[in-house]
């Protein structure tokens, strides 16, 4: 009965009571159909529908669903349309890594690779550092933590995600950069001498600490809870029988985690990592506050730079020329496409490959 009720589509929703008995509903429904279509019967029929209110209700539900569905498409469409000028002017050169990097509002010449590079390198460094930490946390939370410690630790990890981005930025500028990033940057500077790899470590790190490295390190803290929480959920979704099977074969706790649980949840954890990557690329405020926002800096992680998000945050409100605005919106478009793909992939990995299978 319940399933049937659920399956009836809106136009047939006379009322629940009428659907309870097939015969009665058929009778009423056929009555409606049989009546001659004069204006008075139309009115009656409408009155009948609306008296029960379900038509209005379903209209509202459908509209809301429509809003949710349309929103993403609309956002994409707007970005596409509003960036038209920049797309036509610069074409693929705009995001081409080997194109000449220019960002000159005065000349209306724009090329986004430095910003894209900034996003990718900061996110990549953040991932490299955050993934082992996050997976370790996930393992601890789902496999090892004693009952009484689990809830508080879960809270703490989730609190890390709840702190507003600007607060991270503020703390980053005044505490984290001078205390951690500057000394670390100085320690890393000698690596700049290495031929080839040295490109990434060409110093010096600014006295303020504003640098891609600083942004990356703040990002570590910010994406840590995302990766850790999703990985923890993935691990917890793995059936208990898998753990028992390994332990009953004489595996240690660690072997159970390393040889059974992580392989079992690998696609889910990969999804979590990709999700974290998406977060890192899309993160705006904290990065804008600590990355220094300057063009140039080459490929060095010790120098200030831009990310896609930070260049938009930093310049959009002051953009005067139409081309400047369009170029920034095109960066937004790139950001949108990138995060959309990453999130879709992550969602597929987490939901379809792991949670559902479990």
């Amino acid at each position: 009965m319940a399933a049937e009720v659920r399956r009836v589509s809106p136009p047939h929703c006379l009322s629940a009571s009428s659907r309870l008995s097939f015969r009665s509903s058929f009778k009423r429904f056929s009555d409606l159909l049989m009546q001659p279509t004069s204006s008075s019967s139309w009115r009656k029929r409408l009155a009948y529908y609306f008296k029960h209110g379900d038509v209005l209700w379903w209209t509202l539900l459908t509209l809301s669903v429509g809003v949710v569905l349309v929103l993403v498409l609309w956002i994409a469409w707007q970005l596409w349309v509003q960036s038209a000028a920049a797309r036509h002017a610069f074409g693929w050169q705009f995001i081409w890594p080997w194109a000449k990097p220019v960002w000159n509002p005065a000349l209306d010449k724009f090329q986004a690779w430095p910003a894209i590079y900034g996003s990718l390198i900061t996110a990549a460094i953040a991932l490299v550092l955050a993934v082992p930490l996050a997976v370790g946390i996930a393992i601890f939370l789902s496999e090892l933590a004693p009952e009484w410690l689990r809830a508080p630790l879960n809270y703490m990890v989730e609190m890390l995600a709840a702190i507003p981005s600007v607060v991270y930025g503020l703390w980053g500028i005044y505490v984290f950069l001078p205390l951690v990033v500057v000394p670390l940057g100085k320690a890393l500077a000698p690596l700049g001498e290495i031929p080839g790899l040295g490109v990434f470590f060409r110093g010096p790190v600014p006295a303020s600490g504003f640098s891609r490295l600083g942004a990356a390190l703040v990002l570590v803290i910010m994406i840590l809870p995302t990766i850790a929480a999703v990985s923890r959920d993935v691990l917890q979704a793995i059936p208990r029988s898998q753990r028992e099977a390994a332990l009953a074969l004489g595996a240690t706790r660690w072997e159970t985690v390393w040889k059974v649980l992580l392989p079992y949840g690998q696609s889910g954890i990969l999804g979590a990592i990709i999700l974290g990557f998406g977060r890192a690329i899309g993160e705006t405020m904290a990065v804008t506050m600590v990355i220094g926002n300057s063009a140039g800096g080459g490929y060095s992680i010790l120098r200030p730079g831009y990310t896609m998000a930070s260049i938009i945050a930093n310049e959009f409100a002051e953009a005067v020329s139409e081309m400047h605005t369009a170029a920034l919106i095109e960066i937004g478009l790139v950001l949108f496409v990138l995060t959309f793909l990453l999130n879709a992939l992550a969602r597929w990995l987490v939901v379809n490959k792991t949670i559902k299978r479990a």
Partner: protein, 314 residues
């Protein structure tokens, strides 16, 4: 087993020792990672609370900011702006999210439902700065000026997926028999949903809304070029002026939503980067307020949720 036993090839004692050491080391390392995660949390929280707490005073909440370079002043404009925009965002996002959640409850496995869930997750994943660009393109460009309204709309887009996801989960927790029972008694669908299912899921939904609000209050990026910022935003002033010029209610509301407005995180962002000590101090105080608000709301919501779940599932 007649053939050669595998234990002819195994040195059990050595094997056990190696594995046990590995076990202990690796398990301890996971403990270390947790410590490494808790460390920044404690560091940030304690630092912000201590440092911000020092600059906390009543003036913060009741005065507009003092001119640059002069001490004193407050962030009343930002508090009111945040309030107005979050209120607007809630009014827009919560009904849509709840109705969509009811749709998902009524038709859980249809293609439309799958699309809605996918869309919700994608919406949640769009960087908030991109949502800001959208708000700019759709509202600011059309109206030709920045406004609290535009800020409210983009915050609504940020809130929508948060509220929708938790609302769906909460509605699913209500035993389907309740809804079916109501339908079987002859109640129309909407009545069953609003009178039976919604009250049963109310507490859970409220926590979802709280999480959404916490998220919206802390958002800065989408407001940068929608609400823009406004050091002189004061509702009391707008209302007084409106009354003075015998404006209608609608006109006054239009004033409130039509102006550029400020928000706490926006103020924090601007002040943090200004070279005046007083402004930076205000920024720390704002960070204190924001942090307390966001964390408090989060802790409350999650604690409540955990409590509810335990009560439901025993």
């Amino acid at each position: 087993m007649a053939p050669e036993s595998i234990y002819a090839h195994v040195n059990l004692r050595r094997n056990y020792r190696r594995r046990k050491i590995l076990n202990t080391v690796m398990l301890s390392l996971t403990g270390v990672t947790v410590a490494l995660a808790v460390l920044p949390l404690v560091w940030i929280t304690v630092y912000v609370l201590l440092k911000g707490g020092r600059y906390l005073n009543l003036a913060l909440f009741i005065h507009l900011p003092a001119p640059m370079g002069t001490p004193g002043g407050g962030v009343l404009h930002a508090i009111e702006g945040s309030l107005v925009m979050v209120l607007l965002a809630s009014l827009l996002a919560i009904p849509v999210a709840l109705l969509a959640a009811f749709y998902l409850l009524a038709r859980p496995n249809t293609a439309v439902a799958q699309a809605v869930r996918f869309s919700t997750d994608m919406l949640a994943g769009i960087p908030s700065i991109v949502v800001g660009l959208f708000g700019y393109a759709v509202i600011v460009v059309t109206q030709k000026h920045y406004s609290a309204f535009a800020g409210g709309v983009v915050l609504a887009i940020i809130m929508l997926p948060v509220v929708l996801r938790s609302a769906e989960e909460m509605l699913k927790l209500v035993p389907p028999e309740m809804r079916e029972g109501a339908l079987a008694l002859g109640a129309p669908e909407w009545r069953a949903a609003l009178r039976v299912v919604l009250p049963a899921a109310m507490e859970g939904i409220v926590t979802g809304v709280m999480l959404g609000i916490a998220r919206a209050v802390g958002e800065t990026a989408p407001l940068l070029f929608t609400a823009l910022g406004n050091d002189h935003y004061e509702i009391g002033q707008i209302v007084r002026q409106g009354l003075h010029y015998h404006q209608s209610m609608g006109q006054i509301l239009g004033q409130i939503f039509g102006q550029p407005a400020d928000a706490l995180p926006l103020t924090l962002w601007k002040y943090a980067q200004q070279p005046y000590q007083e402004r930076v101090q205000l920024a720390w105080a704002v960070a204190f307020v924001l942090m307390l608000f966001a964390l408090g709301l989060n802790i409350a919501a999650r604690a409540w949720l955990a409590y509810r779940r335990r009560k439901l599932y025993g």
